[in-house]
């Protein structure tokens, strides 16, 4: 089923991606073709197959719940555009 420009707008909003209006038909076409391409997976019989959870069939390693990091906030914040009093700034959320 081809994706409509409205579908693309919806997906772009879910992904918080600003897309120029002029580019929407192009993405609708590309994404429709990609989805049609991956739809061929439906032809594969996977009725008795468990989904892969890890390529090596291993489980996530756990570690003791201990503090291992030191505070480097000021170093990390050097990469931020808006910082004030050690906090990241964004446009006002609550009036």
């Amino acid at each position: 089923m081809p994706l409509t420009p409205e579908d693309v707008k919806g997906i772009a909003f879910l992904a918080r991606l600003g897309i120029d209006a002029a580019d929407i038909p192009g993405y609708a076409d590309n994404l429709s073709r990609i989805i049609a391409f991956v739809d061929q997976l439906n032809a594969a019989d996977t009725s008795d197959v468990a989904p892969m959870a890890h390529p090596l069939d291993r489980v996530q390693r756990l570690r003791p719940d201990e503090v291992t990091e030191v505070d480097q906030r000021s170093v990390y914040q050097q990469n931020a555009t808006g910082v004030e009093a050690g906090l990241y700034t964004v446009p006002r959320v609550i009036e």
Partner: protein, 481 residues
């Protein structure tokens, strides 16, 4: 001069790291404008590191790789040197820390020349999606070097660096290595630490090497492979001496040749080169066995569900708040997110994020993501069955030699199909490499060697023994003397 020869010459005192580094920096200055292989060159830092390495070597404190220059793909975080990932999103990003492999290669005394160009966030097979422009193939400047580690491949092929790091999610080391005429190794999933390597698709990504020879790859892997508690997918398995393992003879080795690798779509010249390479192995005493990977055809569509799904999740961290690009004058928080991401990411990255958001969205998750994780299991099972019969698998790395810049960029599906032979190893988590095996229309093509889990030593030995019998890996492109 290979990495191995260079390392030996440094230890003997025949050459200094300062001389070597100066020579490579000169070559970068002369030839990089033609190739666009480097995004960042750090001449002053490199010369300082070289001087330091020379002191160590003189004092007898040098290791096997001390003083040897290299380049990192710009996906690996380097403290104090910007890390762009080929994206406007990270054009201004200077990492506060080193990736584990950067740290390990620094500790070995290697000299970093700079950071190499790549497809944006490693999403591409041609290096055309980089914010910094396409990289050109040194064998033909109108053609792509492959991708996403295209800058690393072109740099090593044109001898602007003796070795470079890369990452491989669906073929991003092996495919550019093949199209650029060098050796590219993707280790087993979890073999090399990914700490500080910017994530694309976490169940597939793996770091590896781009070098002239398999011996060089073994030298680097010896230093790179290690358990890393900072990477939760890093595997705590013993690391053999890959250089010592290179002498393992091919005699008696069982080589599986998957018949599906020779189906429609394979260029006749590439097929001929593979058949000739297999003859070299037969002459060395290997047994060639016909095998089947019946679900190979599912690998590209499986990948284009799994990889975009994981990418849409991983790239949600780029929100314009803590680091990376931020749009001008956002009117509210949603505007800040959407415009920063809309302006900061290029078209292919947006396509993949949206594909991922779609296949993960409510009502579609079972039909796409869950289904793909099941077909992935079928693909992995094919490989497991094949490795019950044989020691390694061989075939072509790519269906064709390098294509023209712009030739496939209009149609994502045509571009995606370029990775048909390489994606399977990522989906299954297997180690694989590409080694030069000849030329088609004066363009290099690669022999793909896939190994069983953690058998990097086996595939490196197979490639090394082939390189002792052939000289394809010694050829270099004209115009870069």
């Amino acid at each position: 001069m290979t990495l191995a020869q260079m390392a030996a010459a440094l230890v003997r005192g025949d050459i200094t790291s300062t001389e070597l580094t100066t020579d490579y920096l000169d070559r970068i200055q002369r030839f990089n404008p033609k190739l666009n292989a480097f995004v960042t060159v750090i001449a002053d830092e490199a010369l300082a590191a070289a001087a330091n390495a020379d002191k160590k070597i003189k004092a007898g404190e040098g290791g096997r790789l001390t003083g040897v220059p290299l380049a990192h793909k710009d996906i690996f975080c380097t403290a104090g040197v910007r890390t762009t990932c080929g994206s406007r999103m990270l054009d201004n990003f200077v990492s506060p820390y080193d990736a584990t492999i950067v740290e390990r290669l620094n500790a070995a005394g290697m000299v970093l020349l700079g950071k190499t160009n790549m497809d944006e966030f490693a999403m591409g097979s041609s290096n055309e999606t980089s914010y910094y422009g396409p990289v050109r193939n040194p064998w033909d400047l109108e053609r792509v070097p492959g991708g996403s580690s295209g800058g690393s491949a072109a740099a090593v092929a044109a001898r602007l660096a003796p070795a470079a790091t890369g990452t491989d999610t669906g073929g991003s080391i092996r495919q550019p290595a093949a199209l650029s005429g060098i050796t590219g190794l993707k280790p087993t999933y979890g073999r090399v630490s990914r700490y500080g390597m910017i994530a694309f698709a976490s169940s597939l990504d793996q770091a590896g090497t781009l070098t002239a020879t398999a011996e060089d790859a073994a030298l680097l892997l010896n230093q790179m492979a290690a358990f890393d508690p900072k990477d939760s997918t890093s595997v705590d398995e013993a690391v053999p001496d890959y250089v010592a393992g290179l002498d393992k003879p091919v005699k008696g080795m069982k080589i599986g040749v998957p018949r599906e690798f020779f189906d429609e779509g394979l260029d006749a010249g590439v097929e001929k080169a593979v058949r000739e390479a297999l003859e070299v192995y037969r002459d060395m005493g290997a047994e060639i066995v016909d095998v089947s990977l019946p679900n190979l055809g599912l690998s590209v569509p499986t990948y284009y569900v799994v990889a975009p799904a994981e990418c849409s999740s991983n790239l949600s961290r780029f929100d314009g708040v803590r680091f990376g690009y931020r749009c001008d004058d956002p009117k509210d928080l949603t505007d800040l997110y959407t415009r920063s991401r809309g302006e900061g990411f290029g078209a292919e990255v947006k396509r993949r994020i949206m594909t991922g958001a779609y296949v993960l969205s409510a009502g579609y998750y079972d039909a796409y993501y869950l289904k793909a994780q099941k077909t992935r299991q079928l693909i992995a099972a094919d490989f497991k069955r094949a490795f019950e019969q044989v020691d390694v698998l061989m075939g072509p790395t790519t269906p064709t030699p390098a294509f023209g810049i712009g030739e496939k960029s209009d149609d994502p599906i045509t571009m995606y199909l370029n990775d048909i032979y390489t994606i399977g190893a990522n989906l299954a988590g297997l180690p694989a490499l590409s080694a030069p095996m000849g030329f088609v229309n004066d363009l290099p093509v690669g022999l793909h060697i896939i190994g069983n889990y953690f058998d990097e030593a086996g595939i490196l030995a197979a490639a090394h023994q082939y390189q002792l019998q052939t000289d394809w890996h010694t050829r270099s492109p004209k115009g870069f003397a």
